[in-house]
Symmetry: C2
Subunit: 354 residues, 2 copies
């Protein structure tokens, strides 16, 4: 059952757990498919990628990923259309961003032949795990970790790239109330906020726990130096609708350049929704909430696609957002989903067939 | 050969590699002893610690440490005196700091019975690895990683605490020239700079690589917002001697509260060296270098103890430091070493017998 396709070695898993999975009741990111892709980097080069059974692997206790956090990842989704074809959404953007993250974390870049072709080969094997139907997707997690050993704070010389896959239902996180960060910060100028580096996420766990205890599901991060500019949420970029204009912060060293954010802006522009990409001030948001021009806030990211926010808190004041008839969030979400599921024409050429 | 001491399960390694190790030619952090300590956290509690053979372990590809960087560590040393007794230096400080890091990274704190008693038990088994002689030590690396699985950005519910040991010679890194950070940053207010979190270290690899390419071994980090205040180096706090006063930055959310830094300040105070703990400005340093009052810069940290710096660069200007007869760095290093190796009276009660 072993074969080599395009220089990818395939060792088929003899058993499948697909029949044990309840696809109607999936919690996000906890179920994995039968196979994964592994590719190691040693002696300055990427070795042959291998697709094999999803399973634990062994690693030295002194591996640099454990001590110095050299680890990056991506988040993507595969969708199925009514012809049983599997589609990716702007995968080149994720590949590019992965390599940008790699550079910032002093890790090796990975070629398209491994990231993109490896992913397609893996998805071909796992296509039964991509379920048809709106909201259904196969979440894709490419990641790279430093596996070289040694407890000295220096870049590793050995790395492991992996792709694992997790079936997902549409992401509904309940009503999301957010709090605007006044003390804690997610990223700094000259830091790693624009990289999808592992350390950026655990750094937010404690502040988010405190926010949760106060009844808020997420934090909207502000610039660390002045806490006056609205930046992004934990795993989403954020949009603000004031009047009929959609505002979002420009990307920077502190903000992840989200694929969903980009796509939202493009759809809005195409469909004549006014957009402004510029620093959005906390005081501007509060003023708009007070004078009634603030109509929507929503997050944009691969996992949730578009996540409407029902209210925000700033300095002990809570501002409830209005319930709208014509929500930009829902309108754009539907348009984006229709492109992803091949239900609408893809005028942007964003979708890629596996 | 299995036994239980103080609730620590001991599974002796039947073979030892100690005779294969060339103790005269060790590179830092690459050789490990025969045993390690492992203790897992599950269902809200720490399980029984186990001391067993140092070896790789298996872990799920979706373990949160790989994706979200939930990982912290400590660095300590054990020293041998002429009676063959093994000593630790201020281990309670490391235990305290470890738990502070744990809180900031939303990880469980660890009790003294595991961190301190576990370490002592492990060191008793490995005492032949601690070599007598100035400069020799056994470097101790306690660390904790999130082993719970699932690719959703939330704190893990399972953790692994480990202690691994690596014999070390005195740390000599050659002549150290540093460059003062003007663009990149290590930490931000409201961030995790004061925690010994894995992500803080890999974030510095790329800027440090760029500095290396320009001929500088290390970066002196400045505050991220203005780059006007001198903060610390990659794994060391920094001291500046202007005239006969020793200056160092106060600890903050951005700076690690180093045990060596603390001890240097205490020794200086005891021996009537004037110290000032206050923000040290880049412009002040440059002015002092120009008017000849800047006499020394040195790093202070467990690995190198005291690391004298020979010169620094700021905005394309390089400032060479004078070669001194009576260096504070060397004087304090000797005093600190003498306490650690039990060659001088420990008036501070810093040393703890294993
Ligand atoms: C910090 C952060 N911001 C924004 C996003 C949204 O990016 P994308 O739309 O590419 O998923 C993510 C990732 O998913 C993220 O981790
Ligand atoms: C960032 C940083 N600063 C300073 C230090 C020095 O601390 P200590 O003297 O406790 O080793 C360390 C650690 O070793 C460190 O990682």
């Amino acid at each position: 059952m072993n074969s080599i396709t395009n220089d990818i070695k395939i060792i088929k898993n003899e058993t499948s757990k697909i029949n044990e999975v309840d696809f109607e009741n999936l919690t996000f990111g906890n179920t994995f498919t039968d196979h994964m892709l592994i590719c190691d980097y040693r002696n300055g080069a990427w070795e042959q990628p291998v697709i094999k059974a999803y399973e634990p692997f062994t690693i030295d206790p002194s591996a640099k990923v454990f001590h110095y956090g050299q680890a990056i990842f991506e988040g993507m989704k595969a969708y199925k259309d009514e012809n049983d074809d599997v589609w990716l959404f702007r995968p080149d953007e994720n590949h590019l961003r992965f390599n940008k993250s790699a550079v910032r974390m002093a890790m090796p870049e990975i070629p398209e032949s491994i990231f993109i072709d490896g992913l397609k080969t893996l998805l071909n094997i796992e296509k039964d795990w991509v379920k048809f139907g709106n909201g259904n997707s196969l979440y894709i997690r490419p990641f790279m970790i430093a596996i070289g050993s040694g407890v000295i704070a220096q870049p590793s010389s050995q790395y492991r790239f992996m792709i694992i896959l997790s079936p997902a239902k549409s992401y509904y996180s309940g009503e999301v109330k957010v709090i605007i960060a006044e003390h804690f910060s997610r990223a700094a100028n000259g830091g790693i906020g624009a990289a999808k580096a592992a350390g950026n996420y655990s750094a937010q766990f404690y502040p988010t726990k405190l926010a949760n205890e106060q009844g808020f599901q997420q934090i909207i991060w502000t610039d660390d130096a002045t806490h006056t500019k609205l930046e992004e949420a934990g795993t989403m970029n954020v949009f603000f609708r004031i009047g009929d204009t959609l505002l979002t912060a420009p990307t920077s060293e502190r903000i992840l350049d989200g694929v969903t954010r980009k796509s939202v802006l493009d759809i809005a522009k195409r469909d004549n929704i006014a957009t402004e990409v510029r620093p959005v001030l906390v005081e501007e948001l509060v003023a708009a909430a007070k004078n009634g021009t603030l109509k929507e806030i929503f997050g944009a990211g691969t996992a949730a696609v578009i996540n409407p926010i029902v209210g925000f808190s700033f300095r002990d004041e809570y501002f409830e957002l209005p319930k709208l008839e014509n929500s930009f969030a829902l309108e754009i979400k539907e348009k984006l989903n229709n492109i992803q599921y091949k239900l609408a024409e893809d005028t942007f050429n964003w979708t890629v067939k596996v």
